[in-house]
Symmetry: C2
Subunit: 142 residues, 2 copies
């Protein structure tokens, strides 16, 4: 992600929060920035490291709170199978995204609007879906 698009994404995030009546505080903004900067899913404890170059080192709850907020706001997704987090430049409030994660370069592509599964058990009502595909992206073909 280029410096410019990062800045635009942060501004968009700020607006997105404002629309929801919430605040993108400095800690939250910094965490989002770190997640967006990364070119692969980021671990919570790596964020923790990145946040503590000073004496006022961040503690785990700080990072997890920020991540919770950002996930609720739809600005960040958790990759459940990796226990890691990816940024989402185009915030959306619907729950689910479909993620395509390259096992070689770590890049993540996000898609939305997958149709309901064709094979659903009778009577089942979906509230939240986790869809994560691991493989190789177009640049890392094998």
């Amino acid at each position: 992600m280029t410096r410019d698009s990062l800045i635009r994404a942060l501004e968009a995030a700020e607006n997105h929060c404002a629309e929801r009546g919430e605040k993108l505080t400095p800690v939250r903004r910094r965490v989002l920035e770190l997640v967006l900067e990364a070119d692969a899913p980021v671990k919570a404890y790596d964020l923790l490291e990145a946040l503590k170059p000073g004496p006022g080192a961040a503690k785990p709850p700080t990072v997890y709170r920020a991540l919770d907020f950002l996930m609720t706001a739809g600005l960040v997704h958790k990759v459940e199978a990796l226990n890691a987090f990816v940024g989402c430049s185009h915030a959306h409030d619907d729950g689910g995204a479909e993620l395509f994660i390259c096992s070689d370069c770590g890049s993540v592509e996000e898609r939305h609007g997958a149709p309901d599964p064709i094979n659903m058990p009778a009577g089942f009502v979906i509230e939240r879906s986790v869809v994560e595909h691991f493989g190789h992206c177009g640049n890392c073909k094998h």
Copy 2:
């Protein structure tokens, strides 16, 4: 799961392993049994508890090794979003299952053969997919 179908599932698992030239050892068999008995996804440390009613208490690596084996054999799936495990009575060697998990009663339904996503990024080749739907099953409607 009834007692009878549990026994049949264990026998089937035994055969399935034999076909693969592997052994369903007592530890592995016991872990599979516990996972199949449960009517909801089971945590690794709950298995650990269940395995240690005696003085020769099982340690974490024992359980995780058994689970790894069972997952590789396709007899157990991990629910990534819950860090929990579910049994699979009809062993299959293909990687991915589509899971429907009821947030009320914990029941899990498994489906196979979901089509490739329609929206896939150009050139992406999927190796493994994690698909987990959370919601309410037909018996727990809201």
